[in-house]
C-alpha cells in the first residue's frame, strides 16, 4: 500500500478492481495543508509590522447575511464536520458506531444544500457570488475593492460547491449500497463501479478536509474575524464595509 493513491482489491472471481482511495493520502493532505497555512500565518505576521489600521466595528451597521443564510451556513458546517469525523473515525481506528451518524449527517447536508441552491437562484443576489475575469485582478490591485464577496470568498465558495456536490453525489450512490430503514441493499452494482464511487468519494473527502481546514483558518484570522461575526450576528460595520468593499458594487441596507 506504500505511497499509492488508489487501493485495489480482487473481485468475486479474483480479478483486480478499484477498492477506493489510499488513506495514506489523509496524512499527506493534512501535512500539506498545515504547512501552507503555517507559512501564510508567518507571512501575515511579518506584513503585520507595517501597521494598517483595523476598521472599527462601532457605529452604523449594515446587513451582510440574512438569518436564513446564517442558519444554512452553520447547519452545513456542523454536518460537514460530523461527516468528516465519522468518516475518518474507522480509518484512524476509533471504534465508534459511525455509519448511521454518517449517513444521517449526509442526508442533512444534502437537504440543506438543495435548499441553498434553490434559494440562491430565486431569492438571493446570485450575481454577487459570480466569479468573473475582473475578479482575478483584485488580489494584485489594492485600489480594487470587491462587491459583497471578495475574490477569496468567491473562490472558497465555488471550490466548496464543487467538492461538496462531489461528496454528496458519490455519498448518495454509496448510501444506496447499504441497508437502511428505508431499503435493503440490492447488491446490484458491479464491483468495479462500486470501487470507483468509493475512490471518488474518498478523493472529494480529502479535498473537502483541505478546504474546510483552510476555511476555518481564514475565518479565525484577526483581520477576517468580522466576517465570521457577521455569519453569526448578520451585520458588519460601515467602517468594515468601507475598508473592504466597493459600495458602488454593494450597497446593503442598514441594519436596524
Amino acid at each position: 500500500m506504500d505511497g499509492e493513491i488508489v487501493r485495489y482489491k480482487r473481485d468475486v472471481w479474483g480479478e483486480e478492481v478499484i477498492l477506493g482511495v489510499s488513506w495514506d493520502l489523509l496524512w499527506v493532505v493534512a501535512t500539506a495543508i498545515l504547512i501552507l497555512l503555517a507559512a501564510h500565518a508567518i507571512i501575515m505576521a511579518v506584513l503585520a509590522n507595517r501597521k494598517m489600521d483595523k476598521p472599527s466595528s462601532e457605529g452604523r451597521r449594515v446587513n451582510r447575511h440574512h438569518v436564513v443564510d446564517r442558519a444554512f451556513h452553520w447547519i452545513m458546517a456542523v454536518s460537514v464536520l460530523v461527516l468528516i469525523i465519522t468518516g475518518t473515525a474507522p480509518i484512524l481506528g476509533w471504534r465508534i458506531a459511525w455509519l448511521n451518524i454518517h449517513w444521517i449527517a449526509g442526508l442533512v447536508l444534502t437537504f440543506v444544500v438543495i435548499f441553498h441552491i434553490i434559494r440562491a437562484f430565486f431569492w438571493q443576489d446570485f450575481k454577487s457570488m459570480l466569479l468573473g475575469p475582473r475578479d482575478f485582478g483584485e488580489p494584485f490591485d489594492s485600489a480594487k475593492k470587491p462587491g459583497k464577496y471578495s475574490f477569496e470568498q468567491k473562490g472558497m465558495h465555488w471550490a466548496m460547491t464543487v467538492v461538496v456536490l462531489a461528496v454528496i453525489v458519490t455519498g448518495v450512490v454509496l448510501f444506496l449500497q447499504i441497508d437502511t430503514p428505508f431499503w435493503d441493499r440490492t447488491n446490484s452494482m458491479p464491483e468495479d463501479q462500486l470501487g470507483l464511487m468509493f475512490l471518488l468519494h474518498g478523493l472529494s473527502t480529502l479535498a473537502l478536509i483541505a478546504l474546510t481546514v483552510t476555511h476555518i483558518y481564514f475565518a479565525l484570522r484577526p483581520e477576517k474575524l468580522f466576517y465570521t461575526r457577521s455569519m453569526i450576528t448578520g451585520w458588519i460595520s460601515e467602517d468594515e464595509m468601507a475598508a473592504n468593499h466597493d459600495t458602488s458594487k454593494w450597497s446593503p441596507k442598514e441594519a436596524e
Binding site: 500500500m1 480482487r10 480479478e15 483486480e16 477498492l19 447488491n187 446490484s188 458491479p190
Partner: protein, 194 residues
Amino acid sequence: MNPKLTRRRFIKGVIASGVAASSASLWYAATGQSRPSGAVERMVRLDVNGQMRPVDVAPQETLASTLRYKLGLTGTKLGCNRGECGACTVLVDDVPTYGCSVLTHSVKDQRIETVEGMESANGQLHPVQQAFIDELGPQCGYCTPGQVMSAVGLLRSNPNPTRDQARQALAGNLCRCGSYDSYINGVMRAAQIG
C-alpha cells in the same frame, strides 16, 4: 441467479484477470518490515516412534508433511489437510493430534508416534490393529491409520472404555466408507485382548 444482475456483470466481455497487486487481504499483507531476531532454527531432532530423527524443517511446515515427505512415514494420510477428517491423526505425548494441523516445530520436544510405530519390535500387531482386522474395520483403508491412532490414544488413557466413550474418542475421525460401527467393534475387542 438474477439474469439482469449477471448480464450486467458480464457486459464487460474480455477482461484480464492477471497482475493483482496483493493477495486477498490487504490488511495482512506482509510488509517488508525488519524481522526481530530469535526465529526458529530449521534443524531439529524429532522423537518419532522411539527414534531420534534429525530433520530440516521449515518454520511453517506441518507435522504431516514432515512425516510424509521428509521421513517417508506415509502411513499418515492427508485426507483434507484442514483438520476436518482425521486421516492424519498421530499421537503427540500420547494425545491424538491432527498432523496436518500442527506445526512440526510446535511438537519438536515431544514424543511423536505414527501408525508405523504401533507394531511391537517382533512385528506383532498392536491389539487395536489385530482387532481392526478381525472386525474388518477398514474398507478403503485410507482413514484407518488415523482410526488406529485415535483408538490407541483412547486405550492408553482408558484401557476399558465403554462403547460410548469409544464413540466419543473416535468421533474426530471421518470414514466416508461408513465403517464406524466396525471400528468401534474393533476398539471394544482390542480393549478385551489388550
